[in-house]
């Protein structure tokens, strides 16, 4: 007689088909054209990238579209040393919050093409796009960010976004 059963495998699997929603659709179509499109709140005037169709502070719909450049500032970052199956990048690498010029919320992206220990708060960076022929309706068209040869942004310019 062998050992008693102590565990069972219970995998779960669910399938979905998403539709993008209005704001994401605008953003993703912009991506397929190499453009970064944010949306502005009519009340507090903040610009959100990527936009979700509403201002999380005011709870109202955002509609005004604002085109944003691919240049921005690192507001904060961390050095990742744990490997991940889903990433082709080998650790250690820098993962950062990037506030694009003209946007009011930062988003998550990797900083590559520079030694990870040179990444710092205030560092100026720019989006690195995939080759044009590979563009799809996806945020993934922006592969990562790399340093810009510009002086660091002063702390005061981004301290509200930490």
């Amino acid at each position: 007689m062998s050992e008693p059963v102590t565990s069972i495998k219970t995998p779960i699997r669910l399938e979905y088909s998403y539709t993008a929603g209005r704001a994401s659709t605008r953003f993703l179509r912009g991506m397929s054209e190499g453009r970064i499109l944010g949306q502005r709140c009519p009340l507090c005037r903040k610009v959100y990238v990527p936009p979700r169709g509403s201002c999380p502070r005011c709870g109202v719909a955002t509609q005004e579209e604002v085109e944003i450049s691919g240049k921005g500032t690192v507001t904060t970052f961390c050095i990742v040393r744990i490997p991940s199956e889903n990433l082709s990048v080998k650790p250690p690498y820098a993962a950062a919050h990037i506030l694009l010029d003209g946007a009011d919320i930062p988003f998550f992206a990797l900083i590559l093409e520079c030694p990870f220990d040179q990444v710092r708060m205030g560092m100026r960076v720019e989006a690195v796009w995939a080759p044009r022929e590979e563009w799809t309706a996806s945020f993934g068209n922006i592969r990562h960010f790399r340093p810009l040869a510009e002086p660091d942004a002063p702390f005061d310019s981004f301290k509200e976004h930490l």
Binding site: P4, V5, T10, I12, A20, S24, S138
Partner: protein
Amino acid sequence: MASATQSQGRLTAPHILEYPYRRSVGPVLSRFFTGLRDGEIVAGRSSDGRLLVPPPEYDPATGEPLTEFARVADAGSVLSWTWITAPKRAHPFQRPFAWALVKLDGADSALLHAIDVESDSRLRTGLRVRARWRRERVGDIHDIECFEPF
């Protein structure tokens, strides 16, 4: 990164949610699943003397842990059934089959499982069915592949 594809002018994207869970079963279900691996069905005895299968960890009336177990037959009678003509991906069969609540001989509660039968004309409440055991068993509910009329 997933990208959206066009469908009637709308962006759509498929999404699969998968979790490869492995669950520890605890002492009561261990008795049940070990029994299945060994080709037998183990029930738990409740405070009022009923044999419940699958055995609950705690008595339905008193809340006390169950400590007495007994084997029940792997054959019994159908208490309820439903004929599925369009099986879902997760269903045990991809051809028409039945789900059923089966009262195994000796048990006082019903076990839910599938019945493999070629047509619903044979199905009725009270139908006698027996477990079809998998040849290779690991100790989970699929050790019983299904039930079948006999």
